[in-house]
């Protein structure tokens, strides 16, 4: 058996009705994994959206995923950032922590270390906003667990290649 690899794939698509359903339906219909998926319009003038998918599979499956995505009619370009060289991955999380006393102070202190910002506060809660790699977000969320973590909302990964090349 070939080893399972994790790949981050950027897909440039026409921003038209149903395009996200096509991509998601392709993954569910063919049994591919989606670890995370984000989508937003990135070119208003040309109505193009960028979908970032983090997926995993054997090299043969990853190759299939890219070929199947490329076959969809509204897809302009499929770019395997993992294969194509160094790239940046970022995710944003909003993390709600309830607590008073020492735990509340400790959560603030850790937030400072992770460069998370407080974006909402009551006398018994904080909402932290934090950006970083998925691993960094995981680490922060784990640390908040014993300190009163009650709610998390994450965007999923967005990614872009390093250097001057565009998709």
């Amino acid at each position: 058996m070939e080893a399972i690899e994790r790949h981050t794939i950027s897909v440039l698509v026409d921003n038209e009705a149903g395009v996200l359903a096509r991509v998601i339906g392709l993954f569910s219909g063919r049994g591919y994994n989606i670890e995370s998926l984000t989508v937003a319009e990135v070119d208003m003038a040309r109505h193009l959206s960028r979908i970032t998918i983090v997926t995993s599979g054997t090299p043969m499956i990853i190759e299939q995923i890219k070929a199947q995505l490329g076959r969809l009619v509204p897809v302009h370009r499929v770019s395997d950032l993992t294969n194509e060289g160094p790239h940046l991955e970022r995710e944003l999380a909003l993390v709600k922590v309830n607590g008073t006393g020492d735990k509340r102070i400790e959560s603030l202190r850790i937030a400072d270390i992770f460069r998370a910002r407080v974006v909402d506060s009551t006398l018994e809660s904080f909402v932290f906003e934090m950006t970083g790699s998925p691993e960094k977000l995981n680490a922060f969320i784990n640390l908040m667990q014993p300190l009163g973590l009650v709610d998390v909302s994450r965007t999923g990964v967005v990614a872009i290649a390093r250097g001057p090349e565009a998709i």
Binding site: V13, D14, A17, G18, A21, R22, G25, G29, R46, M60, E63, Q64, A67, Q68, G70, R71, V73, P74, V75, H76
Partner: protein, 584 residues
């Protein structure tokens, strides 16, 4: 000059501008505006089917036998959902079809209105692409783009969902509609380096084999002519898939017959033993490969396909060539001539000697009888009766389909219409209707089983209405034969629900539809019945009563390899592996 038309008028105008001459359809509330426009014109013929599934299969038959796009027109809700099987069939076999579906008016979409279904949602996974038109300004472009997408690249079905208010509204129909999309650019011209490498690899082969499929047919008759030329030029053997039959003449000595689960001994053993495989327009389907780990284990594989997703999907290949078969073959032939390729003649002669030995096993032989009609014999007599003329054959799905593929001989492309990928029982009769519409004077035979034919028997009524003299040749063994065969070989002979009690009297059934019914019960009646079937200028059903217990051989059991095939009832199958038992 830009014209102002209703949405329905735009639909009709676009169809005519696309060169459509026949539409297969069934009316209903949501498409009434289109039917009203149809009524007012003479450029388009409409064939009223009796079930929307039949409309899609008829359009497929039309498309496969002409190379043009087949067109379907159905209403919203059940009209669209009934078309789903046909659309899936067209997707699996890469058949260009444009299916226009009615839809409830845009302001009612999502309200569970009468005859509303989420047609684009339902058909998204079973079409190459689909559209819901919510603005009449988009309609002309969408109509033309639908045809472009259906026929270009790897062909497939496209749905255009048309809300009734769009059909009733008024809009502009401009001149010179540009269907080029910024996305979707199928690669048709092959990479020149790959062609050089492929030809060099072929020239170095000692045991080469062409393995060609429906992609050759889809690339047009010129591609089939080029393939035949190339095969003869190289002197290499060639096998064809179920979808590829007719891509080179069956009478050519280089042709080894069909390969795969019910393919010939020589084709499958050649596949197993070859050292260079040239796959042109085939997709390594599981019916062809058998157990993947044992599939052609020692070959270097060249794979020509217009669809990059077909490459390395099931089988890892050494040399992929993305492009249209016709252009690839032109380039390969040119490179072969330019490089004056001379394969090792001695090795090739030795390879042919092995193949002739395998051929000598005469793997399609069967024990004939003078008391009971063997299905193979019936098809041999059919072939003998029609072999000297141009004929078209459709089939249903099952044993009869495999026997037809084994025993009928196709000399030209676009003559063989069968449901390969999806395996849709009920395909053959409506497909024959579509073929006969495209070729009114041709001989069109639907080789059927008595179970499959009942799945779309209502289309007899269509055949009678349009005076389409299709010949339905039923190999009637009263069993779902392929199900029965698997139950016998794999499930201890427990024939669970595979026998059909209370079959209709097919002769009377034909007569009830206003067609002609004939029956053959003894081998010596066959020739007369077949002769009469061909002579009758009307739809005919032949009830050919055949041996109930005959099995289809050769057979590669599930999970087995090409060199583990069963040649006949006397070959004892090894117990099928657990892995094999879960395969279909």
């Amino acid at each position: 000059m830009t014209q102002e038309l209703t949405g329905a008028g735009i639909v009709i105008k676009a169809l005519v501008d696309q060169g459509v001459d026949v539409v297969f359809g069934y009316p209903g509330g949501a498409v009434l505006p289109i039917y009203d426009e149809l009524f007012k014109q003479n450029a388009l013929r409409h064939v009223l089917v009796r079930h929307e599934q039949g409309a899609v299969h008829a359009a497929e038959g039309y498309a496969r036998s002409t190379g043009k796009v087949g067109v379907v027109l159905v209403t919203s809700g059940p009209g669209a959902t009934n078309a789903v099987t046909g659309l899936t069939d067209a997707l699996m076999d890469s058949i260009p079809v444009v299916c226009l579906t009615g839809q409830v008016p845009t302001h009612l979409i999502g309200n569970d209105a009468f005859q509303e279904a989420d047609t684009v949602g339902i058909t998204r996974p079973c079409t190459k692409h689909n559209y819901l038109v919510k603005d009449i300004a988009d309609l002309p472009r969408v109509m033309h783009e639908a045809f472009y997408v259906a026929r270009s690249g790897r062909p497939g079905p496209v749905v255009v969902d048309l809300p009734k208010d769009i059909l009733q509204g008024k809009g502009a129909y401009p001149d010179g509609i540009d269907v080029e999309r910024r996305s979707y650019k199928p690669q048709t011209t092959p990479d020149a380096d790959r062609i050089e490498q492929a030809v060099a690899l072929m020239a170095s082969a000692k045991r080469p084999l062409f393995y060609c499929g429906g992609g050759v047919i889809n690339s047009g008759p010129e591609a089939s002519a080029l393939l035949t030329e190339f095969v003869r030029m190289t002197g290499f053997p060639c096998t064809l898939t179920l979808m590829g039959l007719g891509a080179m003449p069956a009478s050519d000595p280089h042709f080894l017959g069909m390969l795969g689960m019910h393919g010939t001994y020589e084709a499958n053993l050649a596949m197993h033993d070859c050292d260079v495989m040239i796959n042109i327009g085939a997709r390594f389907d599981d019916r062809v490969t058998g157990r993947l780990t044992a599939f052609s284990p020692n070959s270097k594989k060249i794979h020509v396909d217009i669809d990059p997703s077909s490459i390395n999907k099931n089988v890892r290949v050494d040399l992929p060539v993305v492009g249209d078969v016709k252009l690839v073959l032109e380039a390969m032939i040119a490179a072969w001539k330019r490089t004056k390729a001379r394969p090792d003649a001695a090795a090739l002669a030795e390879w042919w000697r092995s193949i002739e030995q395998w051929r000598g096993r005469d793997c399609l032989r069967y024990k004939n009888s003078d008391k009971i009609i063997k299905p193979q014999y019936a098809l041999q007599r059919l072939q003998a009766a029609i072999g000297d003329r141009d004929f078209y054959v459709t089939t249903e799905v099952g044993q009869h389909q495999m026997w037809a593929a084994q025993f009928l001989r196709f000399e030209k492309p676009n003559r063989w219409m069968t449901s390969g990928g999806l395996g849709t029982m009920g395909y053959g009769l409506p497909a024959a209707v579509g073929v006969q519409m495209a070729h009114p004077d041709a001989l069109v035979v639907d080789v059927a089983g008595e179970a499959s034919i009942l799945m779309n028997i209502q289309e007899m009524s269509t055949a009678v209405q349009y005076k389409l003299p299709v010949k339905i040749f039923i190999l009637n063994n009263q069993w779902m034969g392929m199900v029965r065969q698997w139950q016998e070989l794999l499930h201890g002979g427990r024939y669970s629900e595979s026998y059909t009690e209370s079959l209709p009297d097919f002769v009377k059934l034909a007569e009830a539809f206003g067609a002609v019914g004939l029956r053959a019960q003894k081998p010596d009646e066959l020739d007369d019945v077949i002769r009469e079937m061909i002579a009758v200028k009307a739809p005919v059903i032949v009830d050919c009563c055949v041996d109930q217990t005959e099995n289809c051989f050769p057979m590669i059991p599930s999970g087995a390899a090409h060199n583990e095939m069963l040649l006949g009832p006397d070959d004892v199958a090894k117990p099928v592996s657990e892995e094999g038992m879960v395969l279909v």
